[in-house]
Symmetry: C2
Subunit: 198 residues, 2 copies
């Protein structure tokens, strides 16, 4: 993480120049298409937007999950890195947890269909699911542990289950003013708080 241009990931280093160029073109096209058509957009459409053949996309990103992961990689990293920072800056571990979950929810609800894809029972997105877990589960665990340690919330909650639940609650939150996942997540966190009497 020294310069911006080194943000090119290993998959493109050492490859031919045209291959690297195409990789970036596809990434940009996919990002654009995802905004309007969701992460389930036809590969053909992304290929057309990028001006390349379908095979080029499949070569660089064997599964759809690889493509989605690459497109949102930076934002996922940012979310992961925000965890420890919040723990240091927030008033309490519980506040840090709250704010981090807010970030996570922000990320999910602004990507059309991403939450749906994450929890999809078909395993087309298994790799994406794995990547999310890899990067975010440790952060969530740390925040949860800190909150338990500070006696803010009751112990015993599984981080995986919590993250999965939050992701699930974000599904389909677009275009339905009657459904706001944040309210339910607030409720969930309230249920998590230790009853100070017992």
């Amino acid at each position: 993480m020294t310069t911006d241009s080194s943000a090119e990931e290993s998959p493109s280093r050492g490859k031919r120049a045209d291959a690297q160029r195409n990789r970036q073109t596809v990434l940009a096209a996919a990002a654009e298409v995802f905004v309007t058509s969701g992460v389930d957009a036809p590969i053909r459409q992304i290929a057309a937007q990028a001006g390349v053949g379908m095979a080029t996309i499949y070569r660089h990103f064997p599964t759809r999950a690889d493509l989605v992961t690459a497109v949102y990689r930076h934002q996922i990293e940012a979310c992961a890195e925000a965890g420890p920072n919040l723990l240091a800056s927030a008033g309490s571990p519980l506040d840090a947890l709250r704010q981090w979950i807010d970030l996570f929810v922000d990320f999910l609800v602004t990507k059309h269909g991403l939450a749906d894809a994450l929890q999809s029972d078909n395993d087309r997105f298994a790799a994406l699911h794995a990547y999310f877990l890899d990067r975010l589960l440790p952060v969530c665990t740390q925040l949860l542990d800190a909150a338990v340690e500070a006696d803010d919330i009751r112990p015993g909650t599984q981080p995986y289950e919590l993250m999965r639940g939050i992701g699930n609650l974000c599904i389909g939150s677009d275009n339905d003013p009657r459904y706001n996942p944040r309210r339910l997540i607030t409720l969930l966190l309230q249920g998590l708080q230790r009853p100070h009497g017992s």
Copy 2:
């Protein structure tokens, strides 16, 4: 509800005998296929299982939601009717709400992919969504209101949002021992309970 044979719904009364027979055949085949392949199973597969052509299925059940609705109609009705009964038999309105939600969750998690379908952002299942709301939302509202009235839970919760959230939490709960939606739903209900001090 006088005899079993009167369980035939209006869509099949007054039709030709073979049409009624086919309708039942398709329903049975769909129920069977849904168990193994989920509610997203290809129409061709259901047609093959029933030994009829695809057009026959589309004729009787124009949309997939119509078919799913017909298959699970009785169970949805049973869930709807259980609401008032629980309110009468349970120790408190909150207990009734808890037990009813338990029934609802039971129904959702035992149908492969049904929860997913319910909240799907594509509107292939819009009619199913509507039917669920039609039958269950009033029941949920009644239970929620009773619990608020009894001072068991805080006021202000939207029944639609709660049901939607519970449905979302049930998504993808098959084949993942690490994820149990019931634990999260318990947490949610705990957050719903009125803090007795304030």
